[in-house]
């Protein structure tokens, strides 16, 4: 009986092909790598197609004979291509970041810092304003009815139209430089905070509120011991949305103001002079900043969650 059973099992294992065991790191990163490689491949094809006429035109203007190979190579090394090839963007990005001292106006680090400082101030203003507004809305019923429609309306106004007005008005009362940009950034980023924190502050279930009542807790005690801790997870979800919006707000604020420095100024200068590669390098810088900012918020979120006893 035993021998026949073992015979069966060995027959099975012999029949089945050896199972391939992938390395966990490979399993984790393979999908991402495949997607990135595919996108880069598509990008190169698109670059060749889009820049083809441009390069052919320049060869023909100079009456230089050219081969298909030279033509394709030309599409990837043009000085002002319609669509720069990825390696051109990487090269320009690297040169702009590492090739200049950080205080030089040619350095992307310098421009990045200008935008980042407006982002930080705007984010702090916006998040603080949003939290205060949410607390008021939850505690004062008339405010809920009177404020919320205006808050929603504020987000329907196109910021590109409002930004120059804000800059002009603030300029007239002597505010220039970082603060007007921060205010525009705050104007954009407070909204998700209001919505998230209102939701969070009202999230405790009826039993938890009844319990507080049976203990005759004051409104302040209910806020600090129940509502605020319940709102923290909602707050962080909002902050992650909010901090990227505040970066966008800071960049947008640089566009209509003719700012001399900042990622937005770089984008604007690039488009004036047809420096497409410079535009793309600035865009890469903006996304690197955004990823970094979300990363910082996520780290703080994880740390706070740990302090609050969340499941590991």
């Amino acid at each position: 009986m035993t021998s026949s059973a073992s015979a069966t099992s060995s027959a099975f294992s012999a029949a089945r092909p050896a199972e391939i065991r992938w390395h966990p790191t490979f399993v984790r990163f393979a999908p991402v790598v495949v997607v990135v490689l595919t996108l880069i491949a598509i990008w190169y094809v698109a670059a060749v197609l889009m820049n083809l006429n441009l390069v052919r035109g320049s060869f023909e203007r100079d009456d230089t004979p050219y081969t298909t190979g030279q033509l394709i190579a030309g599409t990837m090394s043009a000085e002002r291509p319609l669509l720069p090839a990825p390696h051109q963007i990487v090269a320009t990005f690297a040169e702009d970041v590492f090739g200049w001292p950080v205080t030089s106006p040619r350095s992307l680090v310098y421009h990045g810092w200008v935008t980042l400082s407006a982002t930080f101030v705007g984010f702090l203003l916006g998040a603080t304003f949003g939290i205060i507004l949410a607390v008021l809305i939850v505690h004062v019923r008339t405010l809920q009815k009177s404020l919320l429609p205006w808050i929603i309306c504020s987000q329907m106004v196109p910021i590109l139209a409002v930004a120059p007005i804000v800059i002009v008005v603030l300029g007239a009362i002597g505010l220039r430089g970082l603060l007007p940009k921060a205010i525009i950034s705050a104007y954009l980023c407070f909204f998700p905070v209001v919505i998230g924190v209102v939701k969070g502050l009202t999230s405790p279930d009826p039993i938890q509120r009844d319990l507080m009542r049976t203990w005759s807790a004051t409104t302040a005690q209910i806020f600090w011991k129940l509502r605020w801790p319940s709102a923290v997870p909602f707050l962080f979800t909002s902050l992650k949305v909010s901090i990227t919006i505040s970066l966008i707000g800071a960049i947008v604020a640089e566009l209509p103001t003719g700012a001399q420095a900042g990622i937005g100024a770089r984008l604007l200068a690039g488009s004036y002079y047809g420096q497409t590669i410079q535009i793309w390098a600035a865009l890469v810088a903006a996304s690197v900043l955004a990823i970094g900012l979300i990363g910082i918020v996520s780290l703080i979120e994880r740390w706070v969650a740990q302090l609050m006893g969340a499941r590991a």
Binding site: D205, I207, Q208, D210, L211, M212, R213, T214, W215, S216, A217, Q221, K225, L226, P229, V232, M308, G309, A310, R311
Partner: protein, 274 residues
């Protein structure tokens, strides 16, 4: 819940006095479908030290009556006194601890800090808070779990922590709204025994809402049978097993007889063609 060295006898209604005295209590809710009469002309006296169960089908107003006692609902008519004062005064003076069906522990607080929460709100000093938390966690057999978070405990342990939380400020009354309803039968039997021991040790008055007949008969010194539409009391059965009863009494003829009376009361108050 093990026996402490000294029985805890703080915060009890003086023997013979009425813990709850309700007369002509009615409560009508306004809903989208019109008025619902949750309680109709309820008279009820609960003596200090009693263990009283409200039993009845859903919608009979048993939870509503408990919430009226706790000042979580205001009756539309009638008078009610808790330890001789109004429900609102009783709430403010911390005469009762309320235990809900769900433990409702705060997930961001450890067990110890959950039990401490009402003490913080009521302004006990730090030394007293620590002393009481240790004392009541020991009473519900949760010593050693102080630093755990609620999700690390089973449902039964969480409910025991919520009982410790309700006891921590030493109220005279324990109001329990189907506290073991969400637990399985075995855990429930176990907690029922522990609750009886705790009642026996502390001398507190317990008002207990349930829809389980065996649970009501096993735990109570008095069973209040209620019926829906409108919510009213249809029978009050006294249930004089010794205070230190054990699960074995459930096999005795007396137990079955009382259970039978509860069941027929429930049946008479309920029309099944609805």
């Amino acid at each position: 819940m093990r026996a402490p060295d000294q029985p805890i006898r703080e915060g009890v209604t003086s023997p013979g006095a009425l813990a709850v005295s309700a007369h002509g209590i009615s409560l009508t809710f306004q809903t989208a479908d019109g008025e619902v009469e949750a309680l109709s002309n309820v008279d009820l006296d609960i003596a200090g030290g009693d263990f009283v169960s409200f039993i009845g089908p859903s919608g009979c107003g048993k939870t509503t009556l408990l919430r009226v006692i706790a000042d979580l609902e205001r009756p539309s008519a009638g008078t009610i006194l808790i330890n001789g004062v109004t429900p609102e005064q009783a709430r403010v003076q911390r005469h009762y601890g309320y235990i809900f069906q769900a433990p409702a522990l705060y997930p961001w607080r450890t067990i110890e800090r959950n039990v401490m929460l009402p003490l913080e709100i009521m302004g006990f000093d730090a030394a007293e808070r620590r002393k009481r938390v240790a004392q009541y966690l020991e009473l519900v057999n949760l010593s050693g779990f102080e630093r755990k978070y609620p999700w690390q405990l089973s449902g039964g342990m969480q409910q025991r922590a919520s009982i410790a939380r309700a006891l921590s400020f030493e109220p005279a009354l324990l109001l329990m709204d189907e506290p073991f309803g969400a637990l399985d039968e075995i855990v429930r039997d176990h907690l029922n025994e522990q609750l009886l021991r705790l009642w026996n040790q502390t001398g507190k008055t317990v008002v207990f809402v349930t829809h389980s007949i065996p649970e009501a008969v096993f735990l109570s010194s008095k069973i209040v049978v209620m019926s829906p539409r409108p919510g009213r009391i249809i029978d009050v059965i006294s249930c004089d097993f010794p205070r230190d009863r054990t699960l074995e009494i459930r096999e005795t003829p007396k137990f079955l007889k009382i259970a039978q009376r509860v069941r027929s009361g429930l049946r008479s108050g309920h029309s099944y063609d609805e």
